[in-house]
């Protein structure tokens, strides 16, 4: 099942040369593998372990994550606005499921 992923920029339209934040929200339990259910059984680990950001097809940032990230995680990155283009965010979890979302950078 694809991981539901949302990306947004703040400010939405930065000026050329200005820094901006790229925020990713994902819908995922991020099971750490140490949590017990109501019957006391351990819920198997399944968490997002890779987040990649691409700009116009080129990889510009990569985060490798362990089992200690919160449920429904959000990640924030900072970039400098140089030219307009498209950011693509790709996620992958330990079960092999993936998520993808895009956002267009327009300059003010």
């Amino acid at each position: 099942m694809p991981i539901r992923t949302i990306v947004r920029l703040t400010p939405a339209k930065p000026k050329a040369g200005e820094g901006f934040k790229l925020t990713v929200l994902a819908q995922h339990p991020n099971e750490p593998g140490t949590r017990r259910d109501a019957q006391g059984n351990l819920i198997p680990a399944n968490y997002i372990n890779l987040v990649e950001v691409y700009f116009e097809g080129e990889k510009v940032a990569e985060a490798r994550l362990g089992p200690s990230i919160a449920t429904n995680p959000n990640y924030a990155f900072k970039f400098k606005a140089e030219k307009p283009g498209t950011y693509t965010v790709r996620l992958k979890d330990t079960s092999g499921d993936t998520g993808e979302a895009q956002v267009k950078l327009e300059l003010a």
């Binding site: 510009v60 985060a63 490798r64 362990g66 200690s68 990230i69 919160a70 449920t71 990640y75 970039f79």
Partner: protein, 150 residues
């Protein structure tokens, strides 16, 4: 959501402890576990705690107190040109798996933010690998509240 009732007595006792423990702060952070951290550092970086250089170029922002360990904001910002930062790591001494993330700001600014889980009150470390092979360190501590729901 349930109504929540913090165990005030526990909180007060902890605050008293924190105040009484202030002179001891120089020796160590609350929730420090250097032996457990050391194993994780060796595994992730092939280096130990003694190889890390505390640096105020690394700004680690953690809340002093978290109501629960399930959702704790962690932010790291490095005051160096992006081209000089190879990777940013985060570790929590007390977590079963202390290495929380490795971030490679390939063409990004040396900044990363994520919400994490903490097993209990813990020291948290940001370790920055520079392109010239240095390991810079910033430490913080987050107290995870104990309590119950009434």
């Amino acid at each position: 959501m349930n109504r929540r009732a913090f165990l005030k007595a526990t909180g007060a006792a902890l605050s008293a402890l924190a105040v009484a423990g202030l002179p001891a702060m120089a020796q160590g952070l609350e929730g420090e576990d250097l032996a457990h951290l050391e194993k994780a550092l060796q595994e992730a970086l092939g280096k130990g705690f003694k190889d890390l250089t505390p640096s105020n170029l690394v700004k680690l922002t953690m809340p002093a107190i978290a109501e629960s360990g399930a959702n704790v904001p962690a932010e790291v910002e490095v005051n160096l040109p992006a081209s000089q930062v190879k990777a940013i790591h985060l570790f929590a001494d007390k977590n079963p798996t202390p290495h929380i993330f490795a971030y490679m700001p390939i063409r990004a600014e040396p900044y990363f933010y994520v919400r994490i889980r903490l097993a209990e009150t813990s020291a948290v470390r940001a370790v920055v690998e520079t392109t010239d092979g240095k390991l810079l360190l910033a430490s913080a501590s987050t107290r995870v509240t104990v309590g119950g729901c009434g």
